[in-house]
C-alpha cells in the first residue's frame, strides 16, 4: 500500500532526535567506517552523492517525479563553481559554490518549465533528452569554459578564517568535516521542507495530482518549485565534487551520472532522504570490494545492476524501507493486537454506526470561512451553456441560476448530462459555448484550481481521495489550500503554525464522523467512510458553493439517512447543489429542483411542482404512463 511513509505531522521532539542522531552518526562515522576500509575521500564522496540524492529524493521519492536528467544540474553547478575558481580568479570557495547553486537553480527553472509540461513517462523521457543536450553543450560548444573532455583541474579547497586563526581545508579528514557540515545543513533544510505544509502538498501531488489541483493547490507551481530545489541540491553537490577532487570531471554531465543517482536512491530507499546516502555507501563499498577483493574487475557493475533489478522486483522500498518493515515485523505482536482491536472497534462502529448516527447529536455546523460576497443576484449563473463531444451534444443551451443559501437538487435520467454540467460549473471541462459566473464574477475558462480558491468546489461521483495518506492528512491537504492560497513558498514553516489549520481539520473530521478513524489510510476505509471523506475533502476547502455529485450513490438506506443529515448540516451558511438519483432524499432535502434530460433543462421548480410535472413523469417513466 503506502510504499513511502509520509509523516507531515508528528511530535517535534522526534524530529530533533532524528537530526541529533544524524549529527552523531556523521561524527562517529570516520573512526567506525575507516575500519571497514573506507578511505576519508570515499566517505566524502558518499556524502556528496548523498547530498545530490537528497534533492532527487525530494523530487522522486516525495513528489513522484522520476527524472533521469539530474546530471545536467550536477554538472552545471560543478562547472560554474570550478570555472569561477580556476579561471576568473575568484578566491572565495563558498561564494563560488553559492553561484554554482544559483546557476543550477536557474537551469532548473528553464528545464522545469519544459519538462513539467508533461507527466509520467513523458517527463522521464524529456529530462533524459535535456540532460543529454547539456552534455553535448559542455563537451563542444562550451569547451572553452569547461575544458571539454579534459574537465577543469586545479579547483582549490576552501580556507576558513576566524580573524585570529585560519583553518585551511586539506584532503582527508578536514575535507570530510567540511563536506559533512554541508551535508548536514542540506539534510536539515530538506527535513524542514518535508515537514512543512509544502511537504504535505507534495505528498498529495504524488498520490493524486488531479485532486490536489481540484482542492485548490497550484500543482504545476509546486512541481516547478521542487524541481528547482532538486536542481539546487544537485548544483551544490556538483560544486562540492570539484572541491573534493580538486578537479571537475566532464562525466559529471553524463547519462551515467543521472542513472547512478537513480539506482543509488532506489537501492537505499526512495522517500526517506537518507536512502541516497545509504545507496551511495553500498554502491561505492561494493564497487571497491568487487573490483579489488573479489577480483571481478569490470564486472562489478553487472553485479550492482543485478542487485538493483532484484531490489526493484522484490524490495521496492530499498534497504531503509526493508529495515523499517523488518522492525515493524519484529515488533508486531503488541501493535498487531492493538490494530486488531482497533479494526474491531471500527467494524462495530460501521455496524452500529447507523444507530449511533441516529442517536448522535446534530453534527456541529461549519460555516464557510469566507465572508459571503455582498454582490446581489444569484451566486452562480450559467447562461446558454453548451458542451459538444464531437457529434454528441452532452449539454445544450442550459440556463441555470442559484441564489445564495439555496439548496438545489439536479436530477435526470442516466445520460442526461448531469456530470458534464457539473464539470463545466467547476471548470474541469471548458464549455463549447456559453458562460458561467460565480458571485457576479465571470469564471468561464478559468482553471479548476482558481475556481476552488474562489470558493466553488465539488465532491466527486467516484471518490478521488489521497489513498495512501491518512484521513487526517487528506483533510489537512484540502484545508491548507484555502488557508494558504494556491501557491505559497513557506518551505521551512511547520504546519502547526498555519493558523486555524488544526481546528478546521478537527471540525471537518467531526462533521463527517471520522474522528475515530483519522489515522487510517484512506485506502483502508469502508465504502461509506470513503464517501464521507470525499465530501469532507470538498468541505475542508471551506467553499461558499459546494457541488455534490451523487453523494448518496451506492449507500445502504441507513447510510443515506446519516448522509442526508450530514448534508443538511453542511447546508447551513452555504449554497449547495446536489446531483443524485435518490428522489426521495432529494425531494425531502432540497428547496428547488432542476431536471435535466438529454442535455437540456426539462423543468425547474419546487419538489412538489416537479413531482406533478407531466413532462418529468414522462421522461422518467415513459410517455404511456402519463396518459
Amino acid at each position: 500500500m503506502a510504499d513511502v511513509t509520509v509523516a507531515p505531522i508528528a511530535p517535534a521532539h522526534r524530529h530533533l532526535l532524528a537530526e541529533l542522531a544524524t549529527a552523531v552518526a556523521l561524527i562517529a562515522a570516520p573512526p567506525l567506517l575507516s575500519r571497514l576500509g573506507f578511505a576519508p575521500d570515499t566517505m566524502s564522496r558518499i556524502l556528496v552523492l548523498g547530498l545530490f540524492g537528497i534533492g532527487f529524493d525530494l523530487l522522486f521519492g516525495y513528489t513522484g517525479l522520476l527524472s533521469f536528467g539530474q546530471a545536467a544540474f550536477f554538472g552545471t553547478g560543478g562547472f560554474t563553481a570550478a570555472y569561477l575558481l580556476t579561471r576568473t580568479g575568484m578566491s572565495s570557495v563558498m561564494l563560488s559554490l553559492a553561484l554554482g547553486v544559483l546557476a543550477a537553480a536557474l537551469c532548473g527553472i528553464g528545464v522545469g518549465l519544459i519538462a513539467l509540461r508533461r507527466t509520467g513517462i513523458y517527463f522521464a523521457m524529456i529530462t533524459v533528452a535535456i540532460a543529454q543536450v547539456f552534455f553535448f553543450l559542455e563537451n563542444s560548444p562550451l569547451a572553452d569554459f569547461t575544458g571539454g573532455e579534459n574537465g577543469l583541474a586545479g579547483v582549490p579547497a576552501p580556507t576558513f578564517s576566524l580573524g585570529f586563526a585560519t583553518f585551511p581545508i586539506h584532503s582527508g579528514w578536514s575535507m570530510y568535516g567540511f563536506i559533512a557540515a554541508c551535508y548536514f545543513v542540506g539534510l536539515l533544510v530538506a527535513r524542514r521542507i518535508v515537514q512543512s505544509p509544502i511537504g504535505c502538498i507534495l505528498a498529495a501531488i504524488r498520490d493524486n495530482p488531479l485532486r490536489a489541483a481540484a482542492v485548490g493547490h497550484d500543482v504545476h507551481g509546486y512541481k516547478l518549485l521542487i524541481f528547482v530545489i532538486a536542481a539546487a541540491y544537485s548544483g551544490l553537490a556538483g560544486g562540492l565534487l570539484g572541491v573534493l577532487q580538486g578537479y571537475m570531471p566532464p562525466d559529471a554531465f553524463s547519462f551515467d551520472t543521472s542513472g547512478q543517482l537513480v539506482m543509488q536512491t532506489v537501492i537505499g530507499g526512495a522517500g526517506t532522504l537518507y536512502g541516497p546516502l545509504v545507496g551511495a555507501a553500498v554502491w561505492l563499498y561494493l564497487r571497491d570490494f568487487l573490483q579489488e577483493s573479489a577480483g571481478l574487475g569490470a564486472q562489478w557493475k553487472l553485479v550492482l545492476g543485478v542487485i538493483f533489478v532484484l531490489l526493484v522486483c522484490f524490495l521496492r522500498r530499498g534497504i531503509i524501507g526493508g529495515l523499517k518493515d523488518l522492525i515493524i515485523l519484529i515488533g508486531r505482536k503488541p501493535t498487531g493486537a492493538a490494530e486488531r482491536s482497533d479494526a474491531g472497534g471500527a467494524r462495530s462502529g460501521e455496524g452500529g454506526g447507523v444507530a449511533a448516527a441516529v442517536r448522535r447529536p446534530d453534527p456541529p455546523s461549519m460555516p464557510p470561512s469566507r465572508v459571503p460576497c455582498g454582490a446581489p443576484g444569484p451566486i452562480l449563473a450559467a447562461s446558454a451553456l453548451t458542451k459538444r463531444y464531437g457529434g454528441l451534444v452532452a449539454n445544450n443551451n442550459i440556463h441555470f441560476a442559484v441564489e445564495p443559501g439555496e439548496l438545489r437538487g439536479v436530477i435526470g435520467p442516466n445520460g442526461a448530462g448531469k456530470s458534464t454540467f457539473f464539470k463545466m460549473l467547476t471548470c474541469e471541462v471548458a464549455p463549447t459555448s456559453g458562460s458561467i459566473s460565480f458571485q457576479g464574477k465571470e469564471i468561464t475558462g478559468m482553471q479548476v484550481t482558481d475556481v476552488c480558491q474562489l470558493g466553488l468546489t465539488k465532491s466527486y461521483q467516484v471518490s478521488q481521495l489521497f489513498t495512501r495518506l491518512t484521513v487526517r492528512e487528506n483533510l489537512t491537504i484540502a484545508a491548507l489550500a484555502s488557508l494558504r492560497g494556491k501557491l505559497r513558498i513557506d518551505l521551512l514553516k511547520s504546519p502547526a503554525r498555519v493558523r486555524s489549520l488544526h481546528s478546521r481539520v478537527d471540525a471537518t473530521l467531526e462533521l463527517i464522523d471520522l474522528t475515530g478513524r483519522c489515522d487510517v489510510p484512506a485506502a483502508a476505509l469502508a465504502y461509506g467512510e470513503k464517501r464521507r471523506l470525499e465530501i469532507g475533502l470538498a468541505l475542508a476547502t471551506a467553499p461558499t458553493l459546494l457541488l455534490l455529485d451523487e453523494p448518496l450513490s451506492g449507500m445502504s438506506p441507513m447510510e443515506r439517512i446519516e448522509t442526508v443529515k450530514l448534508l443538511r448540516s453542511i447546508s447551513r451558511g452555504r449554497t449547495l447543489i446536489i446531483i443524485d438519483h435518490d428522489m426521495d432524499s432529494l425531494f425531502e432535502l432540497t428547496e428547488r429542483i432542476t431536471v435535466l434530460e438529454r442535455g437540456c433543462v426539462l423543468a425547474e421548480g419546487t419538489p412538489q411542482e416537479i413531482k406533478n410535472n407531466p413532462a418529468v413523469q414522462a421522461a422518467y417513466l415513459g410517455p404511456e404512463s402519463v396518459a
Binding site: 509540461r117 508533461r118 560548444p141 547519462f255 553487472l302 526493484v312
Partner: protein, 291 residues
C-alpha cells in the same frame, strides 16, 4: 564548403539515419502503446542485435544469416524478458517499470561487455551492396540506399501485422482497453509477450542493419535510446505513424544541422522537440487521451 552534392548527401544520410530511428522508435512506441511499459532497455536491444548479428556474421560470413539469426536472438531475449520480469510489473506504477527496465538495460550492456570487451567491432556491408552508386546528381554509398529500402520494408511489415491481421486487431484493442480484451476471453498476456518480442526485434533488427554503417560498442544503446525518446516525444507516444514521422524528422535534423556545425546537431534536435512540446504537447500525431 556547402555544395549541392554535400547537401543532398546529407539529406540521404538523414534519410538512412531517420529510417533506422523510425524502426527503433516504432518498436518502443508499440510496446508502450500496448503494454503501457516504457522500455528503457530498448537501446540495449539495439545493441544486442548488433552483437548477435556480428557473431553470426563472423561464423558464417553471410549478411542474410546475420540478419535472421540476430533478429531471432533479440526476439528470444524480448520474449524471455517479458515472461520473467515485465509481466510482474503490469500492475505496478510507471516509475517501477521504468526503473526495472533501466536496470535490465544496464545488465545487458555489462553482460555484452563481459563477453566482447569494450572495444568497438564492425562488419563490412555485403559484397553486392558494397561500393557506391551514381544517382545522376551525386554518388552515394550503395549500402545506405539499401538501408532505406530494408527499413522501409520492415516498417511496412510491422504496419501490416499491426493493422491488417487478427493479432494486430487484438493489439490495437489492447491499446484502448486491455482489461476489456481480457474479458473477451483473449489471452492478453500472450499477446503482450508477442508484442514485446516484436518491438524488441525491431530495435535488434535495426542494430544489425546499422552494423556496416557504424561500429558497435556495448554502450552504444544509450544515445540511441535518448534519440528514440526525442522521436517519440515529437511524434506522439503510442502512435506508430508518429514514430515513423518523428524518426524521419529527427534523422534529417541531425544530418542537415551537422552539415552546418556538428557540435550543435543534438541541440537543434532538442530545440525542435521543445517547439513541438510548446505548440502541441501530445506530439505531432499523439492521441489526446494518452498522457
Amino acid at each position: 564548403m556547402l555544395t549541392w552534392a554535400t547537401f543532398w548527401s546529407q539529406v540521404f544520410n538523414g534519410l538512412a539515419r531517420g529510417a533506422l530511428l523510425a524502426l527503433i522508435s516504432s518498436g518502443l512506441t508499440v510496446i508502450y502503446g500496448t503494454l503501457g511499459v516504457l522500455n528503457l532497455a530498448h537501446g540495449a536491444m539495439f545493441m544486442i542485435g548488433g552483437y548477435a548479428g556480428y557473431v553470426a556474421f563472423t561464423r558464417t560470413g553471410s549478411f542474410i544469416v546475420a540478419l535472421i539469426a540476430g533478429s531471432g536472438v533479440v526476439l528470444a531475449v524480448g520474449l524471455v524478458m517479458e515472461r520473467l520480469v515485465i509481466r510482474r510489473f503490469y500492475g505496478r506504477p510507471h516509475e517501477d517499470q521504468i526503473l526495472v527496465t533501466f536496470g535490465l538495460g544496464i545488465c545487458f550492456v555489462e553482460i555484452i561487455r563481459f563477453f566482447f570487451g569494450s572495444l568497438s567491432r564492425s562488419m563490412p556491408p555485403p559484397p553486392r551492396l558494397a561500393g557506391i552508386t551514381s544517382l545522376g546528381f551525386m554518388v552515394y554509398p550503395t549500402y545506405r540506399i539499401a538501408v532505406v529500402g530494408i527499413v522501409a520494408i520492415s516498417l511496412l511489415a510491422i504496419y501490416l501485422v499491426l493493422y491488417r491481421t487478427r493479432l494486430g486487431m487484438i493489439v490495437r484493442a489492447g491499446i484502448e482497453d486491455s482489461g476489456m480484451v481480457a474479458c473477451l476471453g483473449i489471452d492478453v498476456h500472450r499477446v503482450f509477450m508477442i508484442v514485446f518480442g516484436i518491438g524488441s526485434m525491431a530495435a535488434g533488427f535495426a542494430g544489425i542493419v546499422n552494423l556496416p554503417v557504424a561500429p558497435i560498442t556495448p554502450d552504444m544503446g544509450d544515445s540511441i535510446l535518448v534519440q528514440a525518446f526525442v522521436v517519440i516525444v515529437i511524434g506522439g507516444v503510442g502512435s506508430y505513424t508518429g514514430a515513423v514521422l518523428g524518426g524521419l524528422i529527427a534523422g534529417e535534423i541531425l544530418s542537415i544541422s551537422s552539415m552546418i556545425d556538428p557540435a550543435y546537431s543534438y541541440v537543434a534536435l532538442f530545440a525542435v522537440m521543445t517547439v513541438v512540446l510548446m505548440l502541441r504537447p501530445r506530439g505531432l500525431l499523439g492521441a489526446e487521451w494518452r498522457t
